[in-house]
């Protein structure tokens, strides 16, 4: 399986040479070479924006490369459309599933290869094929279930089945584990190993080192659009790969940050990390029996109870889409609770006495939103304008009625200096900053207000590693100053690295809460079970008693 072994006779399943692709000013891929041996699991790893997804999208015909050559089984091919890729035996499981939620599994699997103008005959054949494939690879799924009703892990199976049914011998998986619980991830890897046994070639795109080490045979590392190294998985280490990804030595990086940034397994996992000591003080923010339904009447939060204490980070873990975003909306005043109460100091917030974001801000609550571009900044505004959004009546912006450009620029320049925002140009439009620097400015704005309570959602999503270290450091510093912090993240590694306590959400409920032991493997497995909604580890002690007469009844 040596990449230079050309004499072996069997050409590689995929050989890419000199692939380049530019989007406007961004060179997404630069002269990329890649060889994938037939019947192997090949990982491609790199940071966000390293060009991994672009590369496989070129292979699957979503994009056309500006330059370069694609060979499949030794033959040069032109892949200008997905149809052409499918004809070459390439299948892809996308990060965001390409499934029609209102269709059944069978209809989704048939789509594009229905076998004639009428559906009836093809449906019968597809049903039989599905049964064969399910039993052959352990991919059980009910063909008549509506895809939108299936759990995410099962939807992913449908995607894999779709590709296999179209005759895929080369299967690309783009960040397949981002939406899975740890348990589902384990099952996916079993399926991938099964496919490899049957001779399927697998290309696994990920930014998590743990997954590369767990399942791949070989790994290629991308950085800033370029392919920087190829390694046999067995003869490399997570540290080496991390250095290749980042392009500098990471030994100086605190171990905890490395774990959070890259998902490197903590190895022995036996060393407890420093956590804040349990504080006996009352909660800065208490939530009891919170319930919320969206505009369509679907229950998104039910009976949510939790307490944020001063000087403590409560990590809120869970697979994306289980109510974390809605909880942040309600707590930050964007949405009004429909049942239950929120207490901040003396202020009781409920359905009849709602509090908007401005009042909450006055109460000392700051919010770093999950979706930076929709809620955190206005991309078309300058940095100095963004630096006072929400605080535009304060002294930093002017006299309360008229804005003072000089004050704005001065305030913003100070923030940029303290939070290392680059370029330090207050007059530059927000869209001109990288994701990491945008996030630093948002964090700077909220921390500058000296909050007593900080809600922070996905603080390092789409942020480069250098900025991750910095952002994590600032959050910890704020905790040590006595701020009560709610950290919502879908990256379990990030929660394990920062939080003192963890609550887990599943289907709109808090399904468990625990103080972290600091023993990585133990925490990880228990939280993983809770994320899957399997185990209810420990009843949160304080959550049970009916908190207040105002607490509306929680939804059934």
């Amino acid at each position: 399986m040596n990449p230079d072994d050309r004499a072996g006779g069997t050409p590689p399943a995929v050989r890419l040479s000199g692939i380049s692709k530019r989007f406007g000013a961004v060179q997404a891929n630069r002269d990329v070479d890649l060889e994938v041996a037939r019947g192997s699991i090949h990982g491609i790893i790199g940071e966000n924006g390293a060009g991994k997804s672009t590369l496989v999208s070129i292979l699957y015909g979503f994009y056309e490369a500006d330059a370069g050559r694609i060979e499949i089984d030794g033959h040069v091919v032109a892949i200008r459309s997905s149809a052409a890729a499918i004809a070459q035996g390439i299948g892809m499981v996308h990060q965001h599933f390409m499934l029609v939620p209102t269709f059944t599994v069978l209809e989704n699997v048939m789509l594009g290869a229905e076998g004639g103008p009428l559906l009836a005959r093809g449906a019968a054949e597809t049903r039989a094929e599905l049964l064969d494939l399910s039993t052959a690879y352990g991919l059980e799924v009910d063909p008549d279930a509506k895809v939108g009703d299936l759990a995410v892990g099962l939807q992913q199976r449908v995607e894999i089945l779709k590709a296999l049914r179209r005759g895929a011998r080369i299967l690309i998986l783009d960040e397949p584990t981002g939406v899975l619980t740890p348990d589902e991830t384990g099952r996916l890897f079993d399926i991938l190993r099964g496919l490899r046994r049957e001779g399927v070639t697998i290309l696994l795109i990920t930014h998590k080192l743990r997954e590369i080490m767990a399942v791949t045979d070989r790994v290629s590392v991308m950085r800033q659009g370029e392919m920087v190294a190829h390694r046999e998985t067995a003869s490399t280490t997570p540290e080496e790969l991390a250095e290749l990804m980042v392009g500098r030595r990471v030994a100086a990086m605190p171990r905890r940050e490395l774990v959070a940034a890259l998902g490197v397994d903590a190895g022995g996992g036996g060393t407890p990390r420093a956590r804040s000591r349990p504080q006996p003080n009352a909660g800065a923010l208490e939530v009891r029996g919170l319930g919320w339904r969206d505009a369509r009447g679907i229950t998104r939060l039910s009976d949510v109870s939790l307490t944020l204490r001063e000087g403590e980070i409560l990590g809120l873990a869970g697979v994306a889409g289980n109510g974390q975003s809605e909880l942040l909306d309600v707590l930050s005043g964007i949405a009004t609770p429909q049942s239950g109460v929120i207490r901040i100091g003396e202020r009781i917030i409920n359905r009849d006495r709602p509090a908007g974001p401005a009042e909450l801000r006055a109460l000392g609550l700051a919010h770093v939103p999950e979706d930076r571009h929709r809620r955190g900044v206005v991309l078309g505004f300058t940095a100095q304008e963004n630096a006072v959004l929400g605080y535009q009546h304060g002294p930093a912006a002017g006299d309360g009625r008229l804005l003072s450009p000089a004050a704005l620029a001065c305030h913003c320049a100070a923030l940029m200096k303290r939070f290392d925002v680059r370029p330090a140009a207050p007059g530059l439009r927000m869209s001109g900053f990288s994701g990491g620097n945008q996030q630093k400015l948002v964090l700077a704005r909220e921390i500058e207000a000296e909050p007593r309570i900080l809600l922070v959602g996905q603080p390092t999503r789409g942020v480069d590693i250098g900025a991750i270290e910095f952002i994590h450091g600032e959050i910890l510093k704020l905790r040590d100053q006595g701020c009560a912090i709610l950290l919502v993240s879908v990256e379990l590694d990030e929660i394990l690295a920062l939080a003192d306590r963890v609550a887990v959400m599943n289907a709109g409920r808090i399904v468990g809460e625990r103080r972290l032991s600091g023993i990585d493997a133990e925490d990880r497995s228990e939280i993983g079970l809770m994320m899957a909604g399997i185990a209810r580890i420990r009843e949160p002690a304080a959550a049970r008693p009916a908190a207040s007469p105002e607490a509306g009844s929680a939804e059934a």
Binding site: F62, S81, A83, M98, L111, G112, L119, A120
Partner: protein, 329 residues
């Protein structure tokens, strides 16, 4: 109540139903057109304009050539051409779909009058059509023979038999569209395109082609509706003769939640209201006496507003409706 009065009531009921059905015809054809287009993800607010332009083309060509069939072909051609313009703006160039639809409506509204004046010099109308320049009611076999039989006879003669070709075509269009959507490969792809075009693309099927075909089908159905207006129901083209029926069809389509059979029901309901409105004119109603004509004629339109105000549950449109499909390159 004696037998004669009962029989009269039966015939009256049949006549109202017959009228409902006839007046529902353009609604059914347009609503099916809108349904096919919108299930593929392309908003079609230009039903009205396509129908109006087709009505003009049908009447003008029938008048000039003396053949309703030539009028039919011209109507389908004009309506399909407008549909393709809509497709070119919305699918190929990813334009704003509502704007494009409104443009087509305005174009048809003004264009028919201009062309009418240029061709016939009668203030935008077409000359009245002779009997053999129109589609005549088709007497189904046996209508004559069965008419003597009580109950069934009148039912067959009044309701089933004696309609024009477009009416029967409208009736066939509903099961045809339902069958196409549910049972054919094209239907599956069309529905998928309206919900999740990326899934269709990644399955190796062209989203653009599916949407063009859907828009074209919509054009042909609107064309038939136009034929009905000017050469079957009416006898010639009158300016603005579509009178908002395209919009009511749109309402019926939403009210029927983009599903063929419920949409048919909604169209028949609107047709019934229109017939009832016509019949109520000049009739002494209990308590209120004779209602003003204007109020009665408002009925179908008021009903549209009331029904769409959400009295009958939320309608969930196709997810990708109105969203142009952009494929990066």
């Amino acid at each position: 109540m004696d037998w004669a009065a009962l029989s009269e009531l039966w015939i009256d009921t049949l006549r109202i139903l017959d009228g409902s059905f006839r007046l529902a015809t353009p609604l059914i054809l347009c609503a099916m057109a809108g349904l096919v287009s919108e299930r593929s993800g392309v908003i079609d607010i230009g039903l009205e304009g396509k129908m109006l332009a087709a009505a003009f083309a049908a009447a003008a060509v029938a008048s000039l050539s003396g053949s309703p069939w030539a009028g039919l072909v011209a109507a389908l051609g004009v309506s399909a051409a407008l549909a393709l313009v809509h497709g070119f703006a919305c699918i190929t160039h990813r334009g704003e779909q509502i704007i494009s639809g409104v443009a087509i409506n305005i174009l048809a509204s003004g264009g028919t009058v201009v062309a009418g004046i240029a061709l016939f010099r009668q203030g935008g109308q077409s000359p009245p059509l002779m009997a053999d320049e129109r589609f005549r009611p088709i007497a189904l076999p046996g209508a004559e023979a069965l008419s003597g039989i009580p109950v069934i006879g009148p039912f067959y003669a009044e309701l089933v038999s004696g309609h024009t070709l477009p009416v029967y075509l409208a009736l066939i269009a509903v099961p045809l569209v339902a069958w196409m959507l549910a049972r054919t490969t094209f239907g599956l792809r069309l529905r998928a395109t309206g919900e999740m075009p990326l899934a269709v693309d990644s399955a190796g099927v062209s989203v653009v082609l599916i949407r063009y075909r859907a828009v074209l089908i919509a054009g042909l159905l609107c064309g038939l509706a136009g034929v009905f207006l000017s050469t079957a129901h009416g006898a010639g083209f009158v300016r603005e003769m579509s009178a908002g029926k395209g919009y009511i069809a749109l309402a019926a389509m939403i009210f029927g939640k983009w599903r063929p059979w419920p949409v048919l029901g909604a169209c028949l309901l609107f047709g019934f209201l229109e017939t009832a409105a016509a019949r109520l004119q000049g009739v002494q109603l209990p308590l209120i006496g004779e209602a003003p004509v204007e109020l009665i004629l408002m009925l179908p339109y008021v009903a549209t507003v009331v029904l769409l105000a959400g009295f009958f549950g939320r309608a969930i449109p196709p997810k990708a409706l109105g969203v142009p499909y952009r494929k990066e390159r």
